[in-house]
Symmetry: C2
Subunit: 344 residues, 2 copies
DNA sequence: CTGAAAGCGCTTACAG
DNA sequence: CTGAAAGCGCTTACAG
């Protein structure tokens, strides 16, 4: 008979196991394990033999077995209210980048309200499945953070400044103040603001902080924000459009508007177009985020380095996993980007 | 001594195990396992006792142990070139939605080129970690698909029509033809096209198919696409902007332009603005995708139900996992959405 | 319908 | 520096 195209059969079926490697290298499975995990005290020659066998067998450790035996899950859980917004996906990409470099899986929990609540009871899809939890844009406040700490794994919160838990966030009040100053500098007196309670149903820190920062900065310049100049845009494009229409229907319409997100600002620009008005000329419009589309529509906005926030958060998480990590807060940078919409 | 605030101690430390449940319910661990996995032939009363104990102990099976013992990973791997584009994140959200309903984890592989290549060698981060693989927008062609099938797990490809592997995709040629017909119907003769080789470095089916569909439809209406009216926009906003500037610098500029993506169209609109020209009036612009921002800038475009493509793909994957699933292709719907940019 | 027992593939004290 | 062995927490034939 002609020889079969397959190997004679020292090759066991299915993926190679650590025992296969041990056999081929002529050592114990314990040694293979140590050699592979860069455990100290493995003779150089031994290590070489092991790595050799690993390469020949194309061995990859079964992660479930490793995790069961070691008690480490090798994965970080991430919870965010909405995953498809530009902001969130950019943030998550930053997290993923760092985590994959550190050889950690990322397990994403879609956070419907129900799940976010149960999260606080420590009773989540993440039980026994993650070594750490990253919260994105989930308003959890100090009490929530404290409860989270009881889960027994490190927690990093992104988008909210906290004391009891490591966090990274921009200073929303400062960002909003940049906008207020810019508009006042441009000579505006009648200024409107489009905010909202965001896409989530719980109280959220972002609109509150931006509101406070904006109003405070105006006041410092001797201006008050007329209550009728506050509109809710729900943090959506459609909401921003409707909000601006309402504001412009006022008997004394504004000459400038601060939209708490670029997406609401896009809606505002649409409303302007519908009225035959031009941004920058008939109304100054300023957003917040520096969404990729902002430049192409000439929108003045406050840029936040979103991906970098994600990266930083992931790095802090990895440090926590390694042990030596005090709770701390990192403030992410913010920068006013002036374009035509505020009258360049 | 006052009694400690902790339970007397029938409560073992750490999360409850299946043995704890078995003990409390007075059955074997085998029975607990069966009761929990809806195995047939478990007495109703027994099942009740087990579920009771589970609830009292707040037991959740350790997934690593389950996976090691059963050989099922309970997770689906997904590979996509870029995760942050609107298109991809929307698609992934659709996948996640269905998968989480089916109790599957989603493991996302960031697909740098290197990784995509090694993927084809079956030698990836997904080894022993996933029960199935979903490919998003990775041009893999029939040969690639065949090689993928050898990985031993079901594969579903999204964004490309394939025969050897289950796939779901829009008909790009048909979509582009819708645009061509629309522009010709509007009376345009000098028509340009902004395409590109996408963000990825490998040959991709999308631009090729849209190109062919567009050119074919024009020809059917008796028009040729002037070679100088083809510009590469690289599927980015900036690229689209530069491309339109080039086209408009032509001695005989176009009266209409088809941009193969909405994002490139946003760049084109920016270029128009920079020249003091208005979309719809001075130049008809049509995109492809129906990106959320498209409506607010009044962009005529071809809408694809992106999230639904993701959902469908995930459903097909779940079916494959359940066994009975022939290889098949599902065509996703496409629809021309007319707005002001093409002169309404 | 149920239990005893083997086994999944690793890791890690423990003892050289 | 290395090995024998126990153990991680489940699942699943196998035998009632």
């Amino acid at each position: 008979m002609p020889s079969s195209p397959h190997q004679p059969s020292s090759q066991p079926p299915g993926p190679a196991t650590i025992a296969d490697v041990a056999r081929m290298a002529g050592v114990s499975t314990a040694t293979v394990s140590r050699a592979l995990r860069d455990h100290p005290y493995v003779a150089a020659t031994t290590k070489r033999k092991v790595l050799d066998a690993v390469a020949r067998l194309r061995y990859v450790a079964n992660p479930h077995a490793s995790r069961l035996a070691s008690g480490n899950t090798g994965t970080i859980g991430l919870i965010a209210p909405v995953l498809t917004s530009w902001y969130t996906s950019e943030l998550v990409a930053g997290v993923e980048e760092v985590l994959s470099d550190a050889d950690h899986d990322l397990l994403i929990g879609s956070a419907s309200t129900r799940q976010r609540e149960s999260m606080f009871r420590g009773d989540i899809q993440f039980r026994q499945r993650v070594d750490g939890i990253i919260l994105v844009d989930v308003f959890c406040s100090e009490e929530g953070a404290v409860r989270l700490s009881t889960l027994g794994v490190p927690v990093v919160v992104l988008g909210e400044r906290l004391h009891s838990v490591t966090s990274v966030a921009v200073d929303n009040a400062v960002g909003a103040a940049l906008v207020a100053d810019h508009l006042v500098d441009r000579g505006h007196h009648r200024i409107a603001m489009i905010g909202g309670q965001s896409h989530i149903d719980v109280a959220h820190n972002v609109p509150t902080e931006r509101d406070a920062g904006f109003v405070g900065a105006l006041r410092a310049r001797g201006l008050d924000l007329d209550p009728t100049m506050r509109a809710d845009g729900g943090f959506t494009i459609a909401g921003g459009r409707a909000a601006l229409h309402r504001l412009l229907d006022s008997p004394t319409p504004p000459s400038a508007v601060f939209s708490m997100s670029d997406e609401m600002a896009f809606g505002a620009l649409q409303a302007l177009r519908e009225r035959g008005m031009a941004p920058g000329r008939d109304l100054a419009v300023v957003g917040f985020d520096d969404h990729p589309v902002a430049e192409s529509v000439g929108l003045t906005t406050v840029r936040q380095a979103v991906r970098e926030i994600g990266r930083t958060g992931a790095r802090l998480m990895v440090e926590s996993l390694d042990g030596d990590a005090p709770v701390r807060h990192v403030a992410a940078p913010l920068e006013l980007v002036v374009r035509e919409s505020s009258g360049s």
